[in-house]
C-alpha cells in the first residue's frame, strides 16, 4: 500500500520506507536520519509549509528513539489539506538527527523539548538546550531506562 507522497518520492528516487497509514488515513513514512535534512527541504519545496507538530518518543527499552513530524500543506481554498507524518529513528547511544529548524522555524521549541526529554541531539539547531528541566539536570526523563532520582518535593521557592 503506497500513498501519494510515497509514490512521488519514489518517482524522484528518494529513499524512504512507508509505514502505512494512521487511523485518520494519514500517510506515515520512515526516513533515515542522514537523509532527513535534504528530504525536509524537498518536502518544503513540494509544498508542505506547515510543521503541525513535532514530538519524540522512545520506541522500546534499549531500542531506538523516534522523532515524529506532522506536516501539512496549507493552501488557499483547500478544506482537506494534504498531510503526512514523518518518523525518523535514531540509535539511542548516539541519537543525532538533523534539525529542521531552518526549514520550519516552529520546530525550535519542540526540538528543544525532544532534546530535553529524550536526549536526541538535533544537529544544526541554533540553541539546543534544556527547556523544561533545569539546565543542570542529568539524564533524559522520558527515556524508558531513566531512573528518577529520589528527590523530595521539588519546588522552585528559594
Amino acid at each position: 500500500m503506497q500513498g501519494r507522497l510515497s509514490a512521488w518520492l519514489v518517482k524522484h528516487g528518494l529513499v524512504h520506507r512507508s509505514l502505512g497509514f494512521d487511523y485518520q488515513g494519514i500517510e506515515t513514512l520512515q526516513i533515515k536520519p542522514e537523509d532527513w535534512h535534504s528530504i525536509a527541504v524537498i518536502l518544503y519545496v513540494y509544498g508542505y509549509n506547515y510543521l503541525r507538530s513535532q514530538c519524540a518518543y522512545d520506541v522500546a527499552p534499549g531500542g531506538l528513539l523516534a522523532s515524529v513530524y506532522h506536516l501539512t500543506r496549507i493552501e488557499y481554498g483547500v478544506d482537506q489539506p494534504e498531510e503526512v507524518c514523518i518518523k525518523v529513528f535514531a540509535p539511542r547511544n548516539n541519537p543525532r538527527i538533523p534539525s529542521v529548524f531552518w526549514v520550519w522555524k516552529s520546530a525550535d521549541f519542540q526540538e528543544r523539548e525532544s532534546y530535553d526529554m529524550l536526549g536526541i541531539s538535533y544537529a544544526n539547531h541554533p540553541r539546543l538546550k534544556r527547556i523544561l528541566m533545569p539546565e543542570s539536570w542529568i539524564g533524559w526523563p522520558l527515556r524508558k531506562d531513566y531512573i528518577a532520582p529520589n528527590f523530595y518535593e521539588i519546588q522552585d521557592a528559594h
Binding site: S136, I138, N150, F151, Y152, E153, I154, H158
Partner: protein
C-alpha cells in the same frame, strides 16, 4: 562540591575561584524558634580539631530532650567541621548582573545555599562558593533539640563529603537536600523529632502523626505518644 579538578559546568554566577581545593563548608542552622545561629561545617580534611565545633547555637533554654522510642542504633557520626564565623560579611553578587538568583536547593525543611550566610545579619555572600549553608526547618515544623540538629548537620556534612568532586550545580544540591529530607523523615519516623504543634502551618507534611511507627521494641511510654 566546589572542588577539585573535575571540569564543572560553569554556573550562572561568576565563580571566581572555586576550582582550587576541595572545600565545602556548611553552616547555619535555624533551630527551633531561636534566632538563626551559625552552624558551619567545612569539608576540609585538615586542621580544626574535631572537638571544637564552633558553637553554633545558643540554645538559651536547652529544650527538653524528648527522645522517643528506645531505638539506639547510632549512626557513626561524622564530626562537624564548621566554618569559622566571619565578621563584616556583606551581601555580594546578589544583584541583577549576576543573574539575580542564587544556587540553592529549597525544600520545606532544608534550604541549602552555595554561599556564606551570616547568621546574625543574614548577609548573603555569594562569592564564597566554597561553602554550603544549610538552613534547617525554617518554618519550624518540627521540634528540634541540639542533639537532633547535630545529627542532621552531621549527615549533611557526610553527604557533602560524599559528593566532593561533583559539579556545583543545582542538581547536586538537590540530591543532597533530598537526602537530608529523607533523613529528617527517618528521624521523625524513629520518634527522634516531633511535629511542632504550635507551628504556623500544621499540615503534617511528612505524614500524619502516629503511634508505634518504626518501633521495633514495644517499650513506649505515655510521653512517647503523640500529644
Amino acid at each position: 562540591m566546589a572542588t577539585a579538578s573535575s571540569c564543572m559546568a560553569s554556573t550562572k554566577f561568576s565563580i571566581p575561584s572555586w576550582i582550587r581545593g576541595s572545600r565545602i563548608s556548611t553552616k547555619q542552622g535555624r533551630i527551633n524558634s531561636f534566632p538563626s545561629v551559625p552552624f558551619s561545617v567545612s569539608a576540609q580534611q585538615q586542621q580544626q580539631p574535631p572537638s571544637q565545633v564552633e558553637e553554633p547555637r545558643q540554645f538559651n533554654p536547652p529544650p527538653p530532650l524528648e527522645v522517643g522510642g528506645g531505638s539506639t542504633q547510632q549512626p557513626q557520626k561524622k564530626e562537624l567541621r564548621p566554618v569559622e564565623s566571619q565578621v563584616n560579611v556583606r551581601s555580594r553578587n546578589m544583584s541583577r548582573e549576576y543573574g539575580g538568583q542564587w544556587l540553592s536547593s529549597a525544600t520545606r525543611h532544608v534550604r541549602i545555599y552555595a554561599a556564606y550566610i551570616d547568621p546574625v545579619t543574614s548577609e548573603f555572600d555569594q562569592t564564597q562558593t566554597d561553602k554550603l549553608t544549610i538552613i534547617l526547618d525554617p518554618t519550624n515544623e518540627f521540634l528540634w533539640t541540639p542533639d537532633t540538629c547535630n545529627k542532621v548537620y552531621a549527615y549533611f556534612q557526610e553527604l557533602v563529603d560524599h559528593y566532593e568532586g561533583a559539579p556545583l550545580t543545582e542538581y547536586t544540591l538537590r540530591l543532597i537536600g533530598s537526602d537530608v529530607e529523607h533523613y529528617i523523615r527517618k528521624l521523625l519516623y524513629d520518634g527522634e523529632i516531633k511535629y511542632n504543634m504550635n507551628a504556623r502551618v500544621l499540615n503534617f507534611s511528612m505524614g500524619k502523626p502516629r503511634i508505634l511507627f518504626n518501633n521495633n521494641n514495644n517499650n513506649i511510654s505515655e510521653e512517647d505518644q503523640i500529644q
